[in-house]
């Protein structure tokens, strides 16, 4: 089964959960920005959660099914149409060979994930099919999808009719918002900042800058002042880590972020809230930060991930 790209004007790449085990050599994890929506798309299509899917952001994409297949779409900020109908996201659909699938960008929110039952098959690079544009490697030769690309899928896990019309109920999804409050675990370099700056970080609103990308989301708001040193010797980073360079404007590390960095990290956005930040739209969304603990964050994440047990047949 395969899909042909017939139109693309956004940032469309193949992504899977990311490259694991190569960060020690400086290779970014990459992978889906919104790991929740990504996982939902795969599970809805009856796939293993490590299958490669199409990630679309910043614009539209249209694909033609070359054979009958099951597709599923999850995410926010997109309208889905199949053949001549509009359909909601967070569901799986039976698509006939020859039909067109369109994902059209709406005004708010950022990323959607389109899975095909069986998963998109490409040669893995460093154990992953995720596209790392800067490499460039992974996905389709490390590049964005372009018109004429044919995405071949593996074997679906079940007969197609058993995989259609599955959905993830709205109350099992993250509560996406244009002005989310994000839980953070403070540190490890909280002590590099003045008390006033920590108070500002935990109370003021920060706008998502237009210079944000898959490497990092830059925030604009109250300046965070360092007590003294503005750099440390380089150390490992993680997605969600909030680095503050000497400008005092925070940068949150994203999927393609460098593996290591030397700016102090005031805190890290918790796993359960990362999808909320990822889906924030540059120039439009504003975020706030709220302090939490590791134990509470892990509990919140377990609860969110437990929602996948509620995928149901319609």
């Amino acid at each position: 089964m395969s899909l042909e790209v017939i139109e693309v004007n956004g940032l469309a790449t193949l992504q899977d959960p990311g490259r694991v085990g190569w960060r020690k050599f400086g290779v970014p994890t990459s992978g889906a920005m919104d790991s929740f929506a990504f996982r939902a798309a795969n599970l809805l299509a009856g796939n293993d959660s490590n299958c490669a899917v199409v990630e679309i952001g910043l614009g539209d994409v249209a694909l033609r099914a070359l054979h009958d297949c099951i597709i599923s779409v999850a995410g926010v900020g997109y309208g889905l149409s199949i053949y001549i109908w509009d359909f909601p996201l967070w569901s799986s659909y039976y698509v006939r060979g020859g039909w067109t699938i369109r994902l059209d960008k709406l005004d708010f929110d950022m990323w959607a994930y389109l899975a095909i039952s069986g998963g998109v098959q490409t040669p893995p690079m460093l154990d992953s099919r995720s596209t790392y544009l800067r490499g460039p490697f992974g996905g389709l030769d490390g590049r964005q999808l372009q018109v004429g690309d044919v995405l071949r899928s593996g074997t679906p896990s079940h007969p197609l009719n058993e995989l259609a019309a599955r959905t993830l109920p709205e109350d099992a999804r993250p509560v996406y918002s244009h002005h989310p409050t994000l839980d953070v675990i403070m540190g490890p370099q909280e002590n590099y900042f003045t008390d006033e700056s920590i108070a500002a970080f935990l109370s003021q609103e920060y706008a998502v800058s237009h210079t944000s990308d898959r490497m990092g989301y830059r925030l604009e708001g109250a300046v965070l002042s360092h007590r003294g040193k503005t750099e440390l010797i380089s150390e490992g980073m993680a997605m969600g880590a909030v680095q503050v360079p000497s400008s005092g404007q925070p940068i949150v590390m994203m999927a393609d972020s460098p593996t290591t960095g030397g700016y102090p990290k005031i805190g890290t956005v918790v796993s359960a809230d990362l999808p909320l930040l990822v889906q924030c739209m540059p120039n439009k969304s504003k975020v706030r930060f709220r302090k939490t603990t590791v134990a509470k964050a892990q509990k919140k994440y377990r609860e969110l991930m437990g929602g996948f047990e509620r995928i149901m047949e319609e």
């Binding site: 694991v20 085990g21 190569w22 960060r23 020690k24 050599f25 400086g26 290779v27 970014p28 690079m125 460093l126 800067r134 490499g135 490697f137 992974g138 675990i185 540190g187 490890p188 440390l232 010797i233 380089s234 150390e235 490992g236 980073m237 993680a238 969600g240 880590a241 460098p258 593996t259 290591t260 960095g261 990290k265 890290t268 956005v269 918790v270 796993s271 590791v294 134990a295 964050a297 892990q298 994440y301 377990r302 991930m305």
Partner: protein, 221 residues
């Protein structure tokens, strides 16, 4: 005399084992020893590690392990670090074309340090450097330590594009950009060596612990 490393959370699914806060070869060897120990005795739910100068990042799955579970496991492993000795390192000779089209900061570096360009080159070449860590972009070696007369701050405004193969310095470090990327280091030269090839069985030219010597590139066109 070595104090116990601290284990601090970095979010809810990573932590840092802090052996120190400076660029020191003994501290760095302990970081890599712990990384090696974890490679050969993995714990279910532990995802990967990122060794750096003085810290080891450990990423784990919070659906499998709590912070205290992985912390207790790491404490036990840390107690075994002293039994691990570093492996014999690989020697790598790096041909460099100093200055010119790629080493665009060489002259300003010399001016800033009150040295002749030739002295900057001579001092950069006279040491054998150790690869302390890999990071930033695929295959980027963080090497040190530079001799004191070459210590320079980073650029105030990082460049948006530094070509692959560019040799650079910052603080007491020297490095080579493996792929075209943004960069804030001072650019002093270029090497034709390929540091990263994702299609190769051995994708990375360098590994932590390698000993690196810079030599002047033969003038072949």
């Amino acid at each position: 005399m070595q104090s116990k490393p601290k284990i601090v959370p970095l979010g809810d699914s990573s932590l840092l084992v802090q052996f120190g806060s400076e660029m020191d070869i003994t501290i760095n060897q302990r970081v890599h020893a712990l990384a090696g120990l974890l490679d050969v005795s993995p714990l279910a739910g532990m995802i990967e590690t990122v060794p750096a100068y003085a810290t080891l990042l450990v990423q784990y799955d919070p659906l499998v392990l709590s912070f205290s579970q992985i912390r207790n496991f790491l404490r036990e492993k840390i107690s075994q670090v002293e039994k691990i000795t570093p492996r014999k390192s690989k020697q790598v000779e790096v041909p460099v074309r100093y200055g010119g089209e790629y080493g665009i900061d060489l002259e300003s570096v010399a001016r800033h340090l009150h040295l002749q360009v030739e002295d900057v080159i001579r001092i950069h070449m006279r040491r054998t450097y150790t690869v302390y860590m890999m990071g930033f972009t695929p295959g980027f070696p963080y090497m040190g330590k530079l001799d004191d007369p070459l210590i320079m701050p980073r650029l105030e405004v990082p460049r948006t594009h530094v070509p692959a193969g560019t040799v650079a310095i910052a603080g007491s470090q020297t490095g080579i950009y493996p792929i075209a990327s943004p960069g804030g280091w001072q650019l002093i030269g270029w090497t034709p060596l390929r540091l990263f090839d994702p299609n190769s069985k051995t994708p990375f030219l360098f590994s932590p612990g390698d000993e690196v010597k810079f030599v002047v590139e033969d003038h072949v066109a």
